[in-house]
Symmetry: C2
């Protein structure tokens, strides 16, 4: 049996989680030899060989796998590239880095014939990438829709189930270690869109850059929005969504959705993630699991590591397929928009308005608008007192 000797970068929540999991299972095949961190002098409460010099990992001939588990996307990119160029298989948990560089890194994997695995990056402990890659590979996929961010979902759960206010819920999420070092990544949907980009490569074989996807989070949600959801007997969830239209093009977005009770993701609570994969023939699959936290994610990283033990590589079947899929934003969605002034409303090129409410304290409309029009005003609306959410017909 092949031995895996790991050089690890980073010792945050996930890195520590991986360390704990390996301690606990006492694997005979897998061990962490060296951990590279910024401040090796700091006491981490564990016995390990810490360094701040990457060469201690890269120049060690015994190390045959790199686990890249740091926060900084640029540094992560450097590490992953160097590992592949040195023909050392590498496991990464950095969604931001992957979402920006996956195209290039897929090419580099091919050139170097070296594996880069990152199932842990996309949905914590749910093996969504591997399933898309290995199982849902018959060109029958219609859509992938899910709650991909544990901390924003945790906050929404506390608000909708326990009537907790927003700042208190955010604080609690951070205290419990669910929120990333930069909470706006979670709350404003960027973490979700990075994961969606990774998922879309494997689901539809199409790389789309973050700036081409309308991404909107929950940070400006207020009590009126919560009240509107209650009135409609729905809950607000932050949903990442990719869908293949009948034209063959795909649409993508990360936005709050008003979800009705009969939907699977309505019941995804707290820090959990849930993904609904819809196919032409098997209808819907739902996968559900812990999306955040050191041990679940550490355990997911270990699954990637043991896949390396068996020389597993993603085959990027869809990306290499003849049916090339294109991304479009020319698609209309029905949204709920709560706004403050007429100039806010004027920003939005609604094609149709179905519902309109206006009082001194609160104004909203329900109307139809294209993703392209939303993307166009993406920057502008972030400085205004407003909130929007998809309001699906079902």
């Amino acid at each position: 049996m092949k031995q895996i000797t790991i050089g690890m970068f980073g010792f945050g929540n996930v890195g520590h989680g991986l360390y704990d999991v390996l301690e606990k299972i006492q694997s005979k095949n897998v061990r962490i030899k060296t951990i590279c961190i910024k401040h090796p002098e700091k006491d981490r409460g564990v016995v390990a060989n810490f360094t701040n010099n990457p060469d201690d990992i890269f120049n060690d001939p015994e190390i045959n796998l790199i686990a890249e588990l740091i926060d900084n996307a640029d540094e992560a990119y450097t590490i992953v590239k160097r590992a592949l160029n040195q023909h050392i298989p590498v496991v990464s948990g950095n969604k931001k880095m992957l979402a920006h560089h996956l195209n290039e890194l897929i090419e580099l994997q091919k050139q170097t014939n070296t594996a880069l695995l990152y199932d842990a990056s996309a949905c914590g402990s749910i093996p969504v990438i591997r399933n898309l890659e290995e199982y849902y590979d018959n060109d029958l996929l219609v859509s992938v829709k899910g709650i991909l961010n544990g901390s924003s979902n945790f906050i929404l759960s506390k608000i909708f189930n326990e009537s907790m206010d927003y700042p208190k819920a955010l604080k609690l999420a951070q205290d419990l270690g669910f929120a990333e070092s930069n909470p706006t990544l979670d709350i404003d949907g960027y973490d979700s869109v990075f994961k969606l980009i990774i998922i879309t490569i494997h689901a539809f074989g199409c790389y789309v850059a973050p700036e081409d996807i309308f991404t909107y989070g929950i940070s400006s949600m207020n009590d009126y929005d919560i009240k509107f959801a209650h009135e409609k007997e729905r809950r607000i969830k932050l949903v990442a969504h990719v869908e293949k239209l009948e034209s063959g093009e795909i649409i993508m977005s990360v936005m709050p959705h008003l979800i009705s009770r009969n939907k699977y993701i309505y019941s995804v609570e707290d820090e959990f993630n849930g993904v609904v994969i819809k196919g032409q023939f098997y209808y819907k699959q739902f996968m559900f699991g812990r999306g955040a936290g050191g041990h679940p994610t550490g355990s997911a990283v270990l699954s990637d590591i043991t896949a390396c033990l068996y020389d597993y590589k993603y085959e990027y079947k869809k990306l290499n397929s003849d049916h090339k899929v294109k991304h479009t934003n020319n698609h209309d969605v029905r949204i709920y928009l709560r706004y403050s002034t007429d100039s806010d409303l004027a920003l939005f090129s609604f094609k149709e308005i179905y519902e309109r409410y206006d009082s001194r304290d609160n104004k909203y409309v329900v109307g139809l608008i294209s993703l392209a029009d939303l993307l166009r005003i993406n920057e502008e609306i972030r400085h205004r007192k407003l909130f929007l959410s998809v309001f699906p017909y079902d």
Copy 2:
């Protein structure tokens, strides 16, 4: 790209489903060349090369994959063995055959270096085997628990949600094509136990024969049982369960469970299957999808077929692991038992009785009994007017 030319045995619900799916996706790599059935003269409403001579498949050098999709377990066994011996990869959907012969067929795969894939057999469209094999492979698994039979679950859903009576619900399940050709396989838990055996090989690397697993279904359930469930605010579900005890041994059973509302499988309705995989570190994963029906299962068979296209084989990692796991029935479960006479009750070696109800029309107890004691009276209780269900503590 490798071409797959299929010789198919059987053209029932699943076979027809696979045929439809292939028609629809117009695969360039996969085609069905010959279909072997008992009565090729019967009009099937499709254009295909039908035969009743297996040699037309086995002696055709162009055919490089066999899809075994017939009902009869003995004939399925003959087909699969012959395919492996002729070094032709084979995909099978026959759980009964697999549950009885998997040990031998794993050995034969090794000897012949030829793949036998059967993900479609275990949970319809949910890729549970492949996930256990590929992802949850770090010896951290605690339990796999699920609703593995679509038609019995459909019946229970109709009874609990729509107050339909039992015979009407069964008839409806059969009319909709969810029930197998022999409904007792579904209703009495045998279909579920076959799937559980297959799952357990991949989850814990341990083969256990059907006769060593206490298997009890829902055919004797009556209105008193339904009333009891309602009183306790639970629903009755037919649950297959394998769990690793702290001793390292595993327990297995297929029995009705009184499931409380906060459990994932409480909400698995109609013909759907749902599986909860519990691990030491990632807590719980829940997978959910269509467990029955021609198209979902046909699509799952196609996933096995395209896996062959990529030369995929199960590695049986757990089975080949050094940590050998043993099966035991020395484990106590709390059950609800509705019975008719004192002699019924006397059959059960309860270690403790927590609740007892006795009226002229209805008698029940809630008590603690070992799986071994249940297995011992397995045959005897089938001829009595009684019903039992696990009554979990939570």
